[in-house]
């Protein structure tokens, strides 16, 4: 367990999880946004929270960070109400934006946020050395944020959330603007931080990243947790004996073609030439779809059959195509 990522061992939170949300109702004035949320982030686990825009993710994060008082229910961080100073001190927040001083170097930024987190002056150098080593950014310690690539900026953004030795790490869209190799590095980092014992709440639209790092997923829709649990269990429960299929075409099919695809449970996404859905995990299921495509004159460019995942769950729950 890394000292940078964890509070001192003598702190005992009486077994309270890093984050526990029970029966949370919250909103802004008369507008109710969250309706009875229950969610727990245990020690050493990553929970991915996904949901369409307007589902209440930002409101939930605000409530977790103690910036929005619940109208009913409770949010506790290591057993303390989220609004309490002690609870906030145990949260490391990595906002969606690169929330760092751009003209300052990584080391200078970490020193600023370490002091703001209450780290004593004399302990700051050791603290930032530990955090940089933990997040793998030591080599770039003296480079200004504005001169770093997106991937390094994201790492520095996460590092700044760790300087206060939090118990709960809130990662808001950590993969925005990050290329594939840097994304894989970030996934390794998140998994290893969880391995250090941090509870991690990951808010993302990046399903592949969520699948790569999260033990559990929660799908938020209309201010309610529509689904929550280990991804494999949820998939097995919702798509028993089914496989996910994705079909792409050289050009968007006409209305007759789209009707055929819809009849076989395939819906379009952002790309008008790409359709996805689930079919029975049998030779007849796949064969039936291929025969229907052939019969209607649709010539796919690619057809991929794979185990159903988070995007299929998301589409099924929210009735929305994958983002």
């Amino acid at each position: 367990m890394s000292a940078a990522a964890q509070p001192s061992a003598d702190q005992d939170f009486a077994g309270a999880p890093p984050l526990a949300i029970t029966g949370l109702h919250a909103g802004y004035g008369p507008r109710r946004v969250l309706h009875g949320i229950d969610l727990t982030v245990p020690v050493g686990s990553v929970i991915a929270l996904v949901g369409p825009n307007g589902a209440g993710k930002s409101t939930l994060v605000r409530a977790v960070c103690g910036r929005l008082a619940p109208s009913a229910g409770a949010v506790t961080v290591c057993g303390d109400p989220a609004a309490a100073g002690a609870a906030r001190a145990r949260i490391g927040l990595a906002p969606q934006e690169i929330a760092l001083y751009r003209p300052l170097t990584i080391a200078e930024n970490l020193a600023v946020f370490a002091r703001l987190a209450g780290v004593a002056w004399r302990e700051v150098p050791a603290c930032i050395d530990r955090v940089m080593a933990r997040t793998g950014i030591t080599a770039r310690r003296d480079e200004r944020i504005e001169r770093l690539s997106g991937g390094w900026q994201r790492r520095a953004n996460v590092a700044a959330a760790l300087v206060g030795s939090p118990r709960l790490l809130v990662l808001d869209e950590p993969t925005v603007g990050v290329d594939a190799p840097a994304r894989a590095d970030l996934a390794d980092l998140v998994r290893s931080l969880a391995g250090d014992g941090l509870g991690i709440l990951l808010i993302t639209h990046d399903f592949a990243f969520a699948e790569a790092v999260a033990e559990r997923v929660a799908i938020l829709a209309g201010g309610r947790i529509a689904l929550e649990g280990p991804l494999a269990e949820l998939v097995a429960q919702h798509f028993p004996g089914q496989r996910r299929v994705e079909v792409t075409f050289a050009a968007p099919p006409d209305s007759a073609g789209r009707r055929v695809l819809a009849d076989h449970g395939l819906a379009g996404g952002v790309d008008p030439a790409a359709f996805s859905g689930v079919v029975a995990d049998t030779p007849e299921g796949a064969g039936g779809l291929i025969a229907a495509l052939k019969g209607s004159g649709l010539v796919p460019r690619t057809i991929v059959f794979e185990a159903a995942g988070l995007d299929a769950l998301y589409a099924a729950v929210t009735r929305e195509p994958r983002p």
């Binding site: 802004y28 910036r67 929330a99 760092l100 003209p103 600023v112 946020f113 002091r115 703001l116 206060g164």
Partner: protein, 396 residues
């Protein structure tokens, strides 16, 4: 924790060359320019262009115009009487002058007609002063004849003997003037301020103007912090919003002190403004004025949603406060109601405090009131900023 914010702001400023120049280079340059424009350090007097015409056959007219032509601060262009108005309205001359009667004799109507453009009334006032000087110093005989003629109108004609003595006096008039007997006025600067250059006022005025500008520039980082998510991170930290605002206030005060040090060092080196003999009160005033400028800038940055919005809002506020507060034109030259309005600006109090410390040589006891008012601006502005940001954090 507050020091961490100060450090972040200081490093950001040091790495922004544009902001550095705006904060520390532009103020002394503008001070030198303002001093030249308004306090006459670039030349003794203003030169005025006069379109002059003679519309009388009186001999004194030509003598008078010739004397006026020789005045060092007047560019005299001789034109026909009918052309005077056109020269003034066309902008070729600042003011017109028509000699339409005998300058050396009593007349029914004034012998000199000044044709003025209301947009340049000050030119007419300057010409009137020059004419008085020419009459009293260069043509005293002419002036004496005119006065004597007016006395004859009032008390009756002079006797032959009186006329003879008058002619002798007229003949000796230049000699009398040269010996100093005819001087009407003498300037006497206040003894205790005789050694103080008049540009002291503009050092204070420019200091206040740029304290506001640099504070606005520094406080604008609040907008960046909100938009980049740094504010969200700071709100979560132990120091919270209080550390953020306190850090910004302290940084802006330190920045203001540095700005004042640079500006008044130039004022002392170039114009001999006496700063070092009044160092204690000067530092106190610079501190309070910097804090007041921060008190204005922080709430403006807190209410702005974008840098552009902050820039527009702040420029408007700074120009307004500077104009009304006396950074551009001394307040005693303003209408009464504007002078009264100036009292609600930190600029007016700041300039007054700088003048008190450096010009009037006031001690801390006398400066207590302006210092307290400036501190009040700082406290009020900081409290408003805290309130605005805390509200935004709750509502965002």
């Amino acid at each position: 924790m507050t020091a961490a914010i100060v450090r972040a702001m200081a490093l950001s400023l040091l790495r922004d060359r544009g902001a550095l120049a705006m904060t520390f280079l532009l103020p002394p340059v503008l001070f030198v320019l303002f001093a030249a424009v308004f306090a006459g350090t670039g030349g003794e007097v203003s030169v005025i262009k006069v379109a002059a015409a003679r519309a009388t056959d009186a001999a004194s007219a030509e003598v008078f115009l010739a004397a006026l032509h020789g005045a060092p601060d007047i560019v005299l262009e001789r034109v026909e009487p009918a052309a005077v108005e056109a020269r003034v309205s066309g902008g070729a001359a600042d003011v017109g002058l028509v000699v339409r009667g005998d300058v050396a004799a009593p007349t029914d109507k004034p012998p000199l007609l000044l044709v003025t453009d209301p947009a340049r009334n000050v030119a007419a006032a300057l010409l009137a002063a020059r004419i008085q000087r020419v009459l009293s110093q260069d043509l005293p005989g002419l002036a004496l004849r005119r006065v004597a003629g007016q006395i004859e109108v009032l008390v009756g004609p002079f006797s032959a003997e009186q006329k003879s003595r008058l002619e002798q006096s007229v003949a000796r008039a230049p000699e009398l003037v040269a010996s100093g007997g005819a001087e009407l006025m003498e300037r006497q600067p206040l003894p205790q301020r005789r050694a103080e250059p008049g540009v002291s006022y503009y050092a204070g005025a420019i200091a206040m103007l740029f304290l506001l500008f640099s504070a606005v520039q520094g406080a604008g980082s609040l907008v960046d912090e909100r938009r980049s998510g740094v504010l969200d991170r700071i709100v979560m930290a132990r120091g919270g919003v209080l550390a953020l605002v306190a850090g910004k206030l302290i940084f802006l005060i330190l920045q203001g002190l540095a700005l004042c040090a640079v500006l008044f060092a130039v004022a002392q080196a170039v114009y001999g403004v006496h700063v070092l003999p009044h160092l204690g009160p000067f530092i106190a005033v610079a501190l309070a004025a910097s804090a007041a400028a921060a008190g204005v800038a922080l709430p403006l940055a807190a209410v702005a949603h974008t840098r552009q919005q902050a820039q527009t809002l702040s420029t408007f506020a700074v120009l307004l406060l500077s104009a009304v507060g006396g950074s551009m034109v001394p307040r005693f030259l303003m209408p009464q109601w504007l002078q009264q309005l100036g009292v609600v600006t930190p600029t007016a109090w700041g300039i007054d405090a700088f003048q008190g410390a450096l010009w009037r040589g006031e001690g801390m006891d006398t400066l207590a009131v302006p210092l307290a008012v400036l501190a009040g601006f700082a406290l009020a502005g900081t409290a408003v900023t805290l309130w605005i940001i805390r509200r935004q954090v709750r509502l965002a």
